[in-house]
């Protein structure tokens, strides 16, 4: 019998990456759009059983919390998006991802430990820790892509990366 190994990559996609994927000027060159497309394809194939014939070597799980969904709604609303457009984007996100419930105590525990500059994104960090994420994908250079935040997340074995870095890592793992 042939031996199969799988790696589970559990991603928290920050709101700015979700917005960037939706509003990229070119879907072909945007790392965020390419990453989201890859995640959707892998999640779909696994859910529909289409991955059965060709076993997935890298299993991708997209994690989110309702706090992050709410942030996405707020950002799209700020840009003047109609409710029906926001609904379809939120619905699609819900279709392809797993929901993590983040409690108040998860955030307050983190407030005591996390570096100060990451405090604006504790809801993202809490979602990653609670959802046992392996990566946080973000464009946020001020709060999450800092050496301090990266060092803090390493304690939980979570890497903080940009969409391009995530795509490189997935390619390196050999699946897409």
């Amino acid at each position: 019998m042939r031996h199969f190994w799988t790696i589970e990559v559990r991603l928290v996609v920050d709101t700015n990456v979700r917005v960037a994927a939706e509003l990229a000027s070119s879907k072909e060159t945007s790392a965020a759009a390419q990453l989201l497309r890859l995640i959707q394809r892998k999640v779909y194939e696994r859910a529909s059983g289409k991955a059965g014939e060709k076993r997935q070597r890298v299993v991708v799980v997209w994690l989110r919390s309702l706090e992050m969904q709410n942030e996405l709604r707020e950002q799209l609303a700020k840009r003047g998006f109609r409710s029906s457009w926001v609904l379809s984007i939120l619905q699609e996100t819900a279709m392809f991802s797993e929901l993590v419930t983040v409690e108040e105590r998860d955030i307050s525990n983190l407030r005591k430990q996390a570096p100060l500059e990451a405090h604006d994104d504790l809801h993202v960090i809490a979602c990653a820790i609670k959802g046992k994420a392996t990566h946080i994908v973000t464009y946020d250079k001020r709060h999450l892509l800092t050496p301090e935040a990266k060092r803090f997340m390493r304690r939980y074995r979570i890497k903080v990366v940009t969409p391009a870095e995530m795509l490189d890592e997935l390619r390196r793992l050999g699946d897409p």
Binding site: D14, T15, N16, V17, V19, A20, A21, E22, L23, A24, S25, S30, A31, A32, A33, R37, Q40, R41, Y44, E45, A47, S48, G49, S65, L66, E67, Q69, N70, E71, R73, E74, Q75, K78, R79, G80, F81, S83, W85, V86, L87, S88, L90, Q91, E92, T93, A94, M95, L99, T101, V102, E104, D120, D121, H123, T138, Y139, D140, K141, R142, H143
Partner: protein
């Protein structure tokens, strides 16, 4: 909704205030609010908002969650839209955003609205 059909709420939701079908306001010890969603499949989740949130927006979230879960289930059963159909719909949506001038010059700019 009749008492018989009402989902059994978790113990920590006993004092929850029902805002509308499936949506609750939970009182937390620190005096802040959390919002609870009770889904038709009998599962629950809750969340807090950093900014005030209207009932209309709570309904939007609830609807998106319910529909997203329904789509997931349909895909699992092989009854949902195909991936090609989903991608075509996404492309149509993006073309509309592009026509309306909503797309970003540089995608990294999406991070600027975070603060």
């Amino acid at each position: 909704m009749s008492e018989r059909k009402r989902p059994k709420l978790p113990p920590e939701w006993q004092k929850a205030e029902r805002l509308t079908r499936g949506i609750y306001r939970l009182h937390t010890p620190d005096g802040k609010y959390r919002y609870g969603f009770a889904f038709p499949d009998g599962t629950f989740t809750s969340f807090s908002s950093r900014h005030p949130i209207s009932l209309e927006d709570l309904r939007l979230h609830y609807r998106a969650e319910v529909r997203g879960r329904r789509d997931q289930e349909m895909i699992r059963k092989g009854l949902g839209p195909t991936l090609e159909e989903i991608e075509r719909a996404q492309k149509r949506r993006w073309e509309k955003f592009k026509r309306l001038g909503l797309v970003l010059e540089r995608e990294e700019d999406a991070a600027l609205l975070d603060d």
